[in-house]
């Protein structure tokens, strides 16, 4: 990707970050739509031999020759279609390759984001130009194609995870998700548990179902669940109306510009006979009404890029794509084929107001190229799925956020940048958005950490990423949520935004072992069979004499669910106290850490002891946090932060309180 390495501080700290030889021993397995191996992001120049421990292969297909495709960067490529074909029938090879080849682009984008080699002069149609690189340029990539035109099937995903671990992947990256279900029914959760048990870090996307509450995917505590934020880069486009007013949107349009003199402007809802014509659905616009005009379409239902094709096919000269309340001010840039820009809800409403009041409305759109240094950034993307965790409310999710809006990375040669069949363009790179894009940032960073600290467990890697994440801007003020324009909460960003240079040296970590997670499953009252399904440990039974509690899981964040007093007026002043126990492991120099808490008005937080001294690396010290609160109306939420600091390191954990 371009810009995100700088945004994450990977370039500034180049001299400070040790280039570890062991990083090149890490293989990031990416379960996705496959790979377009000819992209320069998979160039293996400068990489040593493939690690001797690697057992993966490059599977062949009609259009995928191992000798051409795999090398010392792309060390493995497999495809898993048996489950898909069992349900959907044989793959139509005129539409998609029965091989690891990526006909979609998504898998090429995610795998190059995680661990692509550096590619100078990368850009999409001139936008976002720079040197594109993965988060770990020295790690290797193995792709496991599990997603097809009809979706990604769990039998294939589980088979791919099975093989990826057998092959020797050290990190798995899954930018996909399903519905919310118990862990023993969720193949990704099961695969991730046993991958974790074998020392593999598993990073998954949180989902794009935001900004509604409890919309997360992949919430098992042994998974690193990644939400999406913006970076400090934008692609502005300017709408100039006939009345002289200007509105700023975003666009990746790169063709012939519109004339500087305004063109007639029409609302799609007034250029159709269909009730949903305002959405610019296929076949709904009347050519005689839109020909030669700029058409304002409302966002929603069909793909944003498809609306551009609908307007173009109806003879429109350009398009303004207006957000509605569902998307607010979130602007996602698209590489439309016709001059087009997306605008936020407020600008959309203002343009509509002009359009409906002026008897002869006109507009033009000018394109501003790439701007960097945009502030504030990051902000949490509106689409990023939000907590609370619907499966286990006592585990705070997402875990953290990373760049996931307007991300440039490598792309398939099968489709154009809009992904639409009607798009004849072919580009080396594309700019797209989603938690699919933020997840491989974290996967690549996990590989980076593994290289620097090969002895760290998956729990330690995750802890380092989380406890060093930042929740405030450097100048002060909490990271904003674009959905509300207000500061985001841990239900939006978890521990905060990833900060890789700090994650390299976290000072302390909350380590987690397989036994800790087995205790967690006991605390969920899972049956022996259910625990065995998740963990493959059919001889494990929970100890009837032991009091298991989810609050004892050594998680790097805290979610406390208080029960609301029952009955009308129900004794609302009764105070409830909940205790969580945690253990910190020193991964730095000897030192003394002191706890500080920023607690909300609604809760009292006490840490015991409030000071921990570590005499050696590897030493463990435990503490207890007591959370006390009076009853609040059901649905109340409040937030805080607990930090341990030795003056050099800050080991931070978000606190999330709910009353149900």
């Amino acid at each position: 990707t371009t810009r995100t390495p700088e945004f994450l501080g990977l370039d500034r700290r180049e001299g400070l970050i040790p280039q570890s030889n062991t990083e090149s021993d890490v293989v990031v397995g990416v379960l996705d739509t496959g790979v377009w191996p000819e992209r320069k992001s998979y160039d293996d120049a400068g990489l040593g031999p493939v690690p001797a421990s690697w057992k993966g292969v490059c599977e062949e297909g009609k259009d995928f020759k191992a000798a051409d495709a795999c090398n010392r960067k792309l060390v493995g490529a497999r495809f898993f279609s048996k489950g898909y074909e069992a349900s959907m029938g044989p793959i139509d090879e005129t539409k998609e390759s029965r091989s690891p080849r990526d006909n979609d682009g998504h898998g090429t984008h995610t795998s190059s984001t995680a661990a692509g080699s550096a590619v100078p002069d990368a850009n999409l149609l001139g936008y976002a130009a720079g040197t594109a690189r993965g988060m770990s340029t020295r790690a290797r990539v193995a792709v496991y194609k599990v997603c097809w035109l009809g979706g990604c099937f769990s039998s294939d995903i589980l088979a791919a995870m099975d093989k990826a671990i057998e092959d020797g992947c050290g990190v798995l990256s899954l930018s996909l998700g399903g519905g919310m279900s118990d862990y023993y029914r969720d193949s990704v959760a099961i695969g991730a548990f046993n991958a974790m048990a074998k020392g593999v870090v598993v990073s998954c996307s949180a989902g794009n179902a935001g900004p509604g509450t409890s919309t997360l995917s992949n919430v098992a505590p042994w998974i690193t669940t990644v939400g999406a934020g913006t970076i400090d880069r934008d692609f502005p486009a300017y709408v100039v109306l006939g009345d002289g007013k200007n509105y700023t949107g975003v666009s990746l349009y790169s063709g012939k510009p519109l004339p500087s003199s305004p063109l007639p402007l029409i609302y799609a809802g007034n250029a159709t006979n269909a009730t949903n014509g305002n959405l610019c659905m296929v076949g709904t616009l009347l050519p005689d009404k839109v020909s030669g005009k700029i058409v304002l379409c409302d966002r929603g239902i069909n793909a944003r890029v498809q609306k551009g094709f609908v307007v173009r096919d109806a003879g429109g000269a350009g398009m303004i794509l207006a957000n509605t309340a569902a998307n607010g001010e979130e602007l996602v840039a698209d590489a439309h084929l016709l001059p087009a820009t997306a605008v936020g809800e407020k600008a959309g409403d203002a343009i509509k107001s002009y359009l409906f009041s002026d008897p002869n409305p006109k507009a033009t759109v000018a394109f501003g190229g790439t701007k960097v240094g945009v502030m504030p950034s990051p902000v949490v993307a509106a689409f990023s799925s939000r907590g609370p965790n619907a499966v286990t409310p006592d585990i705070l999710k997402p875990d953290l956020v990373a760049p996931g809006v307007n991300i440039l990375a490598a792309w398939s040669g099968s489709v154009g940048p809009t992904g639409q069949a009607a798009d004849p363009r072919r580009t080396e790179f594309n700019i797209i958005s989603g938690t699919s894009m933020s997840c491989p940032h974290v996967s690549g960073l996990a590989a980076f950490l593994r290289g620097a600290h090969p002895d760290w467990s998956p729990g330690a890697v995750k802890s380092a990423l989380m406890t060093t994440a930042y929740a405030d801007y450097p100048g002060g003020g909490g990271i904003l949520d674009v959905a509300t324009g207000r500061p985001a909460t841990p239900f939006d960003f978890g521990a905060g935004h990833v900060d890789p240079p700090k994650a390299l040296d976290p000072g302390l970590v909350y380590d987690l072992t397989v036994d800790d997670y087995l205790d967690f499953l006991c605390a969920l009252n899972y049956t022996t069979l259910q625990i065995a399904s998740v963990s493959r440990r059919s001889n494990f039974t929970c100890d009837n004499k032991k009091a298991y509690a989810v609050s004892d899981l050594n998680y790097p964040s805290f979610a406390v669910a208080f029960a609301t007093a029952s009955g009308a007026g129900g004794g609302g002043s009764a105070t409830t106290t909940v205790k969580h126990t945690r253990t910190l492991t020193n991964v730095g120099a000897p030192g003394t850490y002191k706890a500080t808490v920023s607690a909300p008005e609604e809760a009292k937080v006490t840490v015991d002891p409030s000071e921990l001294s570590f005499a050696a690396a590897g030493e463990k010290k435990s503490y207890t946090v007591a959370f006390s609160a009076a009853s609040q109306p059901s649905g109340t939420a409040a937030f805080g932060r607990l930090e341990w600091s030795d003056g050099k390191h800050v080991v931070a954990s978000p606190l999330a309180f709910t009353w149900t």
Partner: protein
């Protein structure tokens, strides 16, 4: 009944394989065969799960749940890219 068939993932307790079997795959096959003459294993899992996937009718899936060594029979889910 064929039309109603869908893919299930069957989780097995590998340690409970009867001594008559030398290969887990054979045990999985025999377990599957005990509830369906026609069903075939799509995948056998061994590294991050123990078990297999197969196309089954709901009745066959329920019957399989009661076989020795079967931990759970879970319908396949479709996941989406994010």
């Amino acid at each position: 009944a064929v039309a109603k068939k869908r893919t299930y993932i069957v989780h097995m307790a590998k340690s409970q394989m009867p001594p008559a079997f030398t290969e887990h795959r054979h045990w999985y096959d025999a377990s599957l065969r005990s509830v369906s003459d026609a069903a075939e294993i799509i995948y056998a899992y061994d590294t991050v799960a123990h078990g297999f996937s197969a196309r089954l009718s709901p009745a066959e899936a329920r019957a399989l749940e009661h076989r020795p060594g079967v931990l759970g029979v879970v319908p396949e889910e479709r996941y989406e890219l994010h």
